[in-house]
Subunit: 365 residues, 4 copies
């Protein structure tokens, strides 16, 4: 339901932006996975604020503490409970916002739905909650790495491909993991990355914010993953992506462009390549009928501009009176660089879940 | 899981394209809803094939039979089981396809996943299965109509807004339900509809297929619907849309375009209008933090071109040998007109589910 | 939720006693299982009414029709939809009961909960709905038989061990399947069975009803099945059993008797027997910490007397007036013989589900 | 699934007996509930060890920390994450047990299932995990108290009614809450309580353990709660009870005794009493067709003797060699007094869940 994601490999999260801690429970991770805590911490480091001038100056150690489910370095098959303390929560920054409904924030909707809300830092609606997803993703990744012992490992490539109007020039197929983290923009095209950085600097100076597109590609996923009808690989991916703050669009394979390409072109002809069943083109984005076909799974995620801006804005308060608002709190002028690790985490979680679900697909599995 | 959609108002479906019947079970529909069978049948009629030259010539009565859950015309609160017979299944058309993997169809992926597949008409991967969704949507709609007795009813407007490169000129806000069904294209812009019809005719003559975009708008949905974090209103919508055959993209509110609009513009200022809390603009598409804010919920769904085309195609067979394929079976050169009712059905199902889930949001609900 | 049982191997049922049909959807049965329809029909025959003078005279063919999920005799991995028509529903027998609340029936509670009920034959609360469980159980059994190709097959023994005050003398360990169906009482102790039959005949003549106990033993279940904490093997069994009409008690292993046996006696010492890890005694009933240990899983299910009796009873009607009631409708003076196949079916369903869930327990599974 | 209980009001738990902490996430608690932390702590105090000579000498503060979901003293409608540290874990006591399979413990079955286990204090199979259930129960109770503002509150009475062969003489209907906690045995019959205390003292001196029966009665539950078919009120209760360590039996209403009572006696005649619909007798235990009828919900839970005893026992080790075992670790000679609060907690959780589920039962709810 609301705070649980996944069927077998499942993450349930809790936490508000300025509460004592955020955290979660990962249930369904198989026993016997050797957990590398540093790798989890590293994934969190990629998401955490305060890494560069392009992101929020909130300083969080984001030190995860695993409380259960692991013994002698191996997972037990029991739930992995974990917490991440909220350290640098400057709740006072938000006092003036207590009775306001910030434009394009969830203040009003949380209040309507629940009658009572934690106004500090956006409460539960804060992107801070995605740190728990990153923890689960890092564990899913380790499970998968140890699961495919004698096979080519799936690889998840996620990077910033557009900020505002500035596109990356790199061709998806050529991106490699090591290129992504060479700049704080998480854009493998160094030249574009520089332009993007300049744009964000300008936007920040203007007290404004900007959106962009994150592209992803899952390589070497085995064919057969995905559960039709309603838990198709793309449905799981989409549901995940739209749970991330500021995401307003998702497409895979030929996406919105494909609406104009006739079937005679966009149909992906099956061929044999290096002894493997492949398709000549990949308009399908690696998924047919909701099930992976062994080709790269390609997708793009559209993020709108951050709602928190430093400019003066008009809005209303609880008493339905018009008020002026100058944003307090720290924020990201552009969330995309930090969102890369969230998108990646979800890919690993979905892969892990689909791999485990697939064990029940056939009698002789 | 795979074949169940929804949390409280839930639909579980079964059926292959050429099996004895398709159908499903609707569980969680409250008791006391007066069911109008004609309205269900009418919704099915909007989806069914053979309605115009622009759709497949398969002739299905699509006569739904409700087997349970209704007594004396009212729902019982017990599961509503229903079946829709497969009448005009010409399975022989598919015999030659038994050992082939049709390009961009799910033949190969179903075979990899399950080891055994029903090749006739695409089996479970056929869009025929969506008829069961339409039944559930029609029932959800009736529940909602009777639930909001003294309030403005939510309205779901879904229509074809683009076929290939031909866009509709109509502005979403001005579309009204009655305009949508005045032409077989389900496009409220009569002029564009004519051009679209011409395009499909040409495409069909060429033995080709084409995609397009369906736009939707849910009006008068109450504020407060949607379950953060992972069952946000947009996550549910997206998961639903990506379960529909040929859907490759989904966006809501400002969508992909919004990635280039700075926050100072795309932030929706709260105002009081006619005594109601509204926003001046609606870049958020009616959803903030996963919860509806009372503004119209706007979204767009991208459909790729149908995979079944009448031209000669190259592919491989089970023995991994290259083969030529001339498509048998009847098919739609463009699925969008028929898909309108599927998209609409999901909107009603999600609304119903979110309304029921919302009853537990507050102590004093 | 309410009408779905199981996690991976799942059955969702629908249907009222006198509606057009009952039925269900089995989701999660792996592909490639060779389905023997006769075996399913045979399981239904064991449950159906009208088999002997000891059961209801309602005559139902209970002919199941599989509508999907099977092709060329093999399961497809897709949902198996099925229906069983209601043929011999004499709804008129129930007209006089329309406004009454029969003692110990669900008439009143369904009306309070749902506001509207199908009074005919008990509607959804009728034991007739259990026929769908029997179908699922028969399919689960076939899956298991084909899953354990090179191993000893699990065996499920379920039989009547007590009717009223008459116990069966047979020792559980010595009961074999073939003995159970040699008499219509489903009691492997022929002598006790005769006494039970006499008791039921007397009870029936008196227009009364009687309860009893069904014992079960699952042999050769592999060690490791069951999902702690809340889906322990015994929790699943208990939830299943208490869903069966008239069940008021469940115990496994040492059960209620075990409350008086000190740990020094009831602790089951581990030993090696024939190269296998076994326990010297089996007070644990084959389950430790919610997980099977390879020993026989033993349990007992208590059924109260049937609520429908032929004697005059006092009760109230909808207008809260006292009324006299002489039962119409056909009924079983003792439900136990027919319930045997329902209990057995649930055992197979739970085994199948736990086997599939167990595939995700370990990294190297 | 395994570590989650409930449908809407849901508790997911984590934690091993000797890990850093145990804890859980309560999801689905409505917003606006005023939380009294002392009341939660008090419920934990009733369960915690070291309270009397009759229970384990392990000393745990059991100080729960709520990490989220509460703001300004009111629930937010967001998940309530909480932890309870493990303070007095003497893991060294268990070192000698690392390679043994203790009789009637879950050592062997966890190892078979997961391949890897935390041997310290029973790991996840320890009853220590039930503390998280108690937290959820205490919160559910507060929700219910605030939900029924103008109605008679449901009351949950749970007490020890038998230890070994010593029954309590008290009649269930006359037990009142205040009598239960007047002695450390949680037995409202003072005289029986003294005998029970003597028995446990003797049993403890003998290095042995003993079981017993806990009785429960839920009074003033509204009619209409429970979700047929598979989430009947009794199914939920039973699944919950069998998740508690050492529980081997559950019965409600007439239970096992009722198998011998003819329908003419056990049918509960409906009457009007004080203007309310009631039944003359209550063999049904307050539940008809899985739905509460407004009468007291009565049940009994059978606990076997604790598996940990201080006497010498024979068993085998991982190398399948016979070994002698003298139990280390602290334990309860009789778990029933502490289990009372666990049983009670589940009753509140189930009530809360069924109340929230019931909000969707009728159109006009």
């Amino acid at each position: 339901m609301a705070n649980t994601f996944g069927c077998i490999f499942r993450i349930t999260t809790f936490g508000e932006s300025h509460g004592k801690a955020i955290g979660g429970i990962i249930d369904g991770c198989p026993a016997g996975v050797k957990l590398n805590l540093d790798a989890i911490q590293e994934a969190l480091a990629n998401r955490k604020p305060g890494q560069s001038v392009y992101t929020s100056s909130r300083k969080e150690g984001d030190n995860v503490e695993l409380l259960s489910g692991v013994f002698d370095g191996l997972t037990l098959g029991t739930p992995i409970g974990f917490t991440i303390p909220n350290e640098d929560a400057r709740s006072d920054d938000y006092t003036q916002l207590k009775d306001l409904y910030r434009p394009s924030h969830a203040d009003y909707t949380y209040e309507v739905k629940y009658g009572h809300r934690d106004h500090r830092g956006g409460g539960r609606s804060s992107a801070r909650t995605t740190a728990s997803v990153v923890v689960a993703g890092a564990i899913a990744k380790q499970f998968i790495a140890q699961y495919y012992t004698n096979r080519i490992l799936p690889e998840v490539l996620v990077y910033v491909s557009q900020i505002g109007e500035i596109p990356s020039k790199c061709t998806t197929e050529k991106v490699i993991q090591s290129q992504i983290y060479t700049n704080p923009l998480r854009c493998p095209d160094e030249k574009a990355a520089k332009q993007m950085a300049d744009l964000i600097t300008t936007i920040k100076q203007q007290g404004d914010s900007i959106g962009g597109i994150i592209s992803g590609e899952i390589r070497n996923a085995e064919a057969g993953l995905g559960e039709p009808l309603f838990n198709k690989f793309q449905s799981a991916l989409a549901a995940a992506m739209f749970s991330i703050n500021a995401v307003h669009g998702f497409e895979f394979g030929s996406g919105f462009q494909g609406t104009q390409i006739p079937g005679s072109i966009s149909n992906d002809e099956f061929i044999i390549q290096d002894g493997q069943i492949r398709t000549k083109t990949n308009y399908s984005g690696g998924i047919l009928g909701g099930i992976t076909n062994g080709m790269p799974i390609t997708f793009r995620v559209a993020f709108k501009s951050t709602s928190t801006i430093a400019s003066l804005q008009s809005t209303i308060n609880r008493d339905r009176e018009p008020v002026e608002l100058e944003a307090g709190g720290r924020h990201d002028p552009c969330v995309l660089p930090r969102a890369v690790s969230i998108v990646e985490a979800f890919c690993w979680i979905i892969l892990a879940d689909m791999i485990l679900l697939n064990k029940s697909a056939k009698l002789d599995q």
